[in-house]
Symmetry: C2
Subunit: 500 residues, 2 copies
Amino acid sequence: MESDLSRLKIVLAEITDLYNVAGLLGWDQQTCMPPGGAEQRGYQLSTLKTLAHVRFTSLEVGQLLDAAEPMLDTLDPSSDDACLIRVTRRRYEKRIKVPPTLVSEMAQASAAAHQAWEKARLDSDFWQFLPHLEKIVDLKRRYSNFFAPFEHAYDPLLDDYEPGMKTSEVKAIFNVLRPQQVALLREIMHKTEPEDAFLHLNYDPQKQWDFGVEVISRFGYDWKRGRQDRSTHPFTESLGRGDVRITTRIYPDFLSSALFSTMHEAGHAIYEQGVDSSLARSPLDGGASLALHESQSRMWENLIGRSLPFWQHFYPDLQEVFPEQLAKVSLERFYWGINKVKPSLIRVEADEATYNLHIMLRLEIEIGLIEGTIEVKDLPEIWNEKMHEYLDIVPPDDAKGVLQDIHWSSGLLGYFSTYALGNLIAAQVWERVNEDLPGLESQIRSGDFSELLGWLQEKIHRHGAKFEPQDLVQRVTGSWITPEPYLNYLRTKYGTIYGL
Amino acid sequence: MESDLSRLKIVLAEITDLYNVAGLLGWDQQTCMPPGGAEQRGYQLSTLKTLAHVRFTSLEVGQLLDAAEPMLDTLDPSSDDACLIRVTRRRYEKRIKVPPTLVSEMAQASAAAHQAWEKARLDSDFWQFLPHLEKIVDLKRRYSNFFAPFEHAYDPLLDDYEPGMKTSEVKAIFNVLRPQQVALLREIMHKTEPEDAFLHLNYDPQKQWDFGVEVISRFGYDWKRGRQDRSTHPFTESLGRGDVRITTRIYPDFLSSALFSTMHEAGHAIYEQGVDSSLARSPLDGGASLALHESQSRMWENLIGRSLPFWQHFYPDLQEVFPEQLAKVSLERFYWGINKVKPSLIRVEADEATYNLHIMLRLEIEIGLIEGTIEVKDLPEIWNEKMHEYLDIVPPDDAKGVLQDIHWSSGLLGYFSTYALGNLIAAQVWERVNEDLPGLESQIRSGDFSELLGWLQEKIHRHGAKFEPQDLVQRVTGSWITPEPYLNYLRTKYGTIYGL
């Protein structure tokens, strides 16, 4: 059994290498690659991913798993080896259930849909995208059916991103969240809106870059195991824990974008850099789920980066870097400005108080599409109705409405809720870490994040993908994912800022 | 047969993808990768190369070749398909003759030798490197033996870089070359040495970069299918003809380095960018051999970049960029300065008149080691003797002598002569292109390289690796590789500069 496990580890290490290399190809594509490389890059990625998939779903991996599994009877269930066997078995069973024909049909449909979506969004014309999205939804329903029986047809899609999570759990959480977030937003909207014009002045890009670098270095981003570049959309790419790269986007006339996206991506990267070295070159070398990942990025971006203690330390530095723009803006006005709440059309620009509502709208639509209770052709109307209901605004066109996100065109259904779940987990973990580290707020006020980072590494990061998300959240906070801490956080924060 | 060929092409395309991806990993390692990525990068490269090797030497490729080969009876021998079958068969037979145990022994020995060499060079102590080099030589001799019978034991090593080339051919060429180059050098050394202090002033790195970019853009380097970065050692990396990247190295106090290395690497890249698109994703998508490659890089760097007509066009621009340093230096003095001949210890810093002598010394040593007529322990002495004989200088220590090059420590025996052969081919092609394009010199004088580039693409570049080097040189120039054109070129050029 032990030698089978050793052999399994070798095979998985090679497969992990291939996926990490595919990650480098993707990073390079968005940061370095000249346009002439696009066509061959598509082939290279497809060759690598196919090789990795074929290798992972091979009879050999199945046999090695069969042979190693009896070890689970004697291994500590939370040991690296036990988790490796369990997680690998789970992914293996999921992958081999889907026929390769469906996988390749999905790849082709996504490629075509992505192209159609780009054009449709440009023309703001949903009807160009309609047949493609119908095809994607049809394929996703067929995909889901390979995992029957299930509690809900949406479960297998959600499980791709949040292993073990059920649609019913997410629905229950969102059913509590939705009315309270809507109510809070209505309250806020009756108050005077803070001024934030000073965020939209001219800010030298190099100085923005340098300030962001200073902040995330203080957070603990390890530059010896990473680097930062510019790209159209900020992202984090881990090529393994020794090389976790981030990108940022800088607007010369909007300070918040680079500032908070840099902290956000550093949050993702610090998670990946903190995975224990014993998990290197294995499927466990990475975050536990997208929601856990988002909990870390959002924590650094929002719970820390948009907090008053943080700016009590960093604002004087920022004022020194941008005296013309900020010398006359008080700390309080700055803090209000970066936390201004305003319902907006675009998810990625949403503030903390409205973001989750964008997500709930999408989740409801996705569940309806998979259940068959919503038809693709009705999406623009449903989208706009829900926007009106939740956020009290209606998109003037489809480009700013149902066509805004890339996800569906790439075949990513089941993904959106992880963003909202990440917000909830962040607040839940934040409550807990503040109990464990009573000096945390004053440490942040003095720009010291070392104890926080140590706590996060010990409780979350080092475990990599060993545990399912609900299990990990339970281990860290003592309860499953729950909306209360996030609602408390929002009420306290905006209660103070808006005087509710 | 045709469907077997189609299948063969698909398999080869995937293998080519893997090698190109390995190329990207190497490029990234030298330009972007943070130090923490080094360990996993080693694994990633090894996983990719092993996969590519196993796939290429598979029974399947052998069977597809067997099935496709009868097509050679009816195909035009210079058609893409015929060349693909021929080249693939050649490489396949060469690879499968070597047992995997030897391949992995070589990989391990090289890794250890490379590490030992770095330390030995630092300490300038050959004896640290001795046992490692003995091991490498032993492995190379065993490698060679798998290809017996052969005319010369060195042939299989040379053939790895110059397919089809024989040791006897290279010896014959160098036997003509050596005495004449030595004699020419002696003559030059009796003349007054031109002044070149102005090349060693302070030159702003960004301006050096920009000037280099301007020059190679005029040469025809296609930026839509490439990019330039800085690295410790300049190199070219082709990820396929759509993405051919170059790097350069800039010294703030020496103008020649970036200037000529940029032209040199652009020469390599322009070759790769010019391969016909029908050869994409095949083993034929690349240069015909290292010597052919070097002929192109050296042509742009030396026959063009160090010529008077070139500077008649570009020198006023350069003076404008660096008025403080060059305003008072006449075109003639500049031209003399960049062509100053001075025997030096280090190969990579050698001028056109001495470079080949560095190569011949290395080739003689390599042949002796493989024949068994030279022992590794005698290398420092032999090295210094030959340096004295050919260049009339003796290294003060091993770091500046026998330990200077990385090649042997990496297991690259058989490689060096390609540099000298490249010089010869460049001169040979240059004679021919000047016959075909009588207006070339005046085109260069006006900074126009378009007709030259068209000629090179038509005669050399587009063919990729379809033909063996001697065959290609014969097709282009009407004769095999011969030293006369290069000797004529040197005599004419230095005759004028030094008034011989």
